[in-house]
């Protein structure tokens, strides 16, 4: 999911940067000092989580965690993910620097979806809560795969083919994170409700 340099066309890169900028500014504005420790921690979680990979046949995909991170951080998820992506780009060359805007949008924008779904789940109980928690983990990954497919499509690759490959490859991650979010959500509600503000 970290797109390398030279793959995407210039219009896509510019659109990505233009879309990322206001989200970044808004996220930083919302980053009050009391929210900093949580934001820093979840940024680290994303940073490390990218190294946990799930093998699928010959290839593998890594944990994305943008659903859970979006659920817990809300608006500040975007700067948290942006900084983690920036460091991954600089230290590990995971993704390029010109692609930072697009990569941030691919991973950061669906985090807000996670936030919305999680809040909805917290308000409910029973099966609907479990389902919403599962979607909090899984759906942002689907969204990320779709945005990435769009970015690749507008740079030349066949949309349908790229989308199919990406979605199929990420189904195991969606399942794992969906289930993990159910347990994590319930655990946090019982033990650390204050982390959900």
């Amino acid at each position: 999911m970290h797109v390398s340099e030279g793959v995407l066309s210039a219009p896509v890169l510019i659109t990505g940067a233009a879309a990322a900028a206001p989200l970044l500014v808004y996220g930083f504005k919302k980053l009050t000092p009391d929210r900093l420790p949580k934001t820093a921690l979840l940024s680290s979680v994303f940073f490390v989580g990218s190294f946990i990979h799930i093998p699928i046949g010959p290839s593998s995909v890594h944990l994305l965690l943008n659903g859970i991170i979006g659920a817990l951080l809300g608006a500040t998820a975007f700067p948290a993910l942006f900084i983690a992506l920036l460091l991954q780009g600089l230290l590990f060359q995971f993704g390029g620097l010109t692609t930072l805007g697009v990569n941030s949008v691919i991973i950061g924008l669906p985090a807000s979806l996670g936030f919305v779904l999680f809040r909805a789940g917290v308000k409910r109980s029973g099966f609907s809560r479990t389902a919403l928690f599962a979607l909090t983990g899984a759906l942002p990954i689907t969204a990320s795969a779709l945005i990435l497919s769009l970015a690749l499509a507008f740079s030349g690759e066949q949309l349908l083919e790229a989308a199919q490959i990406l979605l199929v490859a990420h189904v195991p991650v969606m399942l794992v994170e969906g289930v993990a979010t159910i347990f994590l959500g319930e655990f946090l509600l019982k033990v650390y409700p204050q982390v959900l503000e």
Binding site: S4, L36, L41, S44, I52, S59, L87, F92, G95
Partner: protein, 171 residues
């Protein structure tokens, strides 16, 4: 918070990264181009599309790496080449390769079946070594210790957010 920190530390024992980045090493000597393409954790990029072209844009080869991620090409003209490998899902690596040692010598190449002069033997040895060197370089480039870089990344994160805390605190 504490349990989250523990989870973070334990996850450092996680499996190495894959499909984040594709790398390539290439070696060009006596007209023999040897390329090795691999993913971040060292797994070979087998059957990956590879393009070899000149700096002026003309394409010399548009093919796929073999099952072990290797690609070899015999060039007949001297000069640099640009190698590009596509790993799929938006991952791509590119390198400009400068010739080492001797330039391709058409006369020596034509003499291949019965190498009686020392120069022809030398160029054959170089060709074989080029392949070996690419393999060795690929081995050295493998991400052998990501843990230290992960830790430095976490250090940067703490530093950046610490600075942010300082900056925001002053407002």
């Amino acid at each position: 918070m504490r349990s989250l920190c523990l989870v973070l530390l334990f996850s450092l024992l996680a499996l190495p990264a894959h499909a984040h980045k594709i790398s390539l090493v290439a070696f060009l000597d006596s007209g023999q181009l040897s390329v090795q393409a691999f993913f971040a954790n060292g797994t070979a990029c087998g059957n990956c599309p590879i393009t070899v072209s000149r700096p002026d844009g003309s394409v010399l080869a548009s093919d796929r790496t073999d099952a072990e991620g290797a690609f070899n090409l015999q060039l007949t003209e001297p000069g640099d080449v640009i190698v590009q490998v596509d790993g799929g899902s938006g991952h791509r690596a590119e390198a400009t390769v400068h010739p080492q040692g001797a330039e391709p010598d058409p006369a020596a190449l034509a003499d291949a079946p019965a190498p009686q002069n020392a120069d022809a033997i030398r160029s054959i040895v170089r060709e074989e070594l080029a392949r070996q060197t690419a393999e060795i370089a690929a081995y050295l480039e493998k991400d052998k210790s990501p843990v230290s870089r992960i830790l430095s990344g976490l250090g940067y994160l703490v530093g950046i957010f610490g600075l942010l805390a300082f900056w925001k605190g002053r407002k």
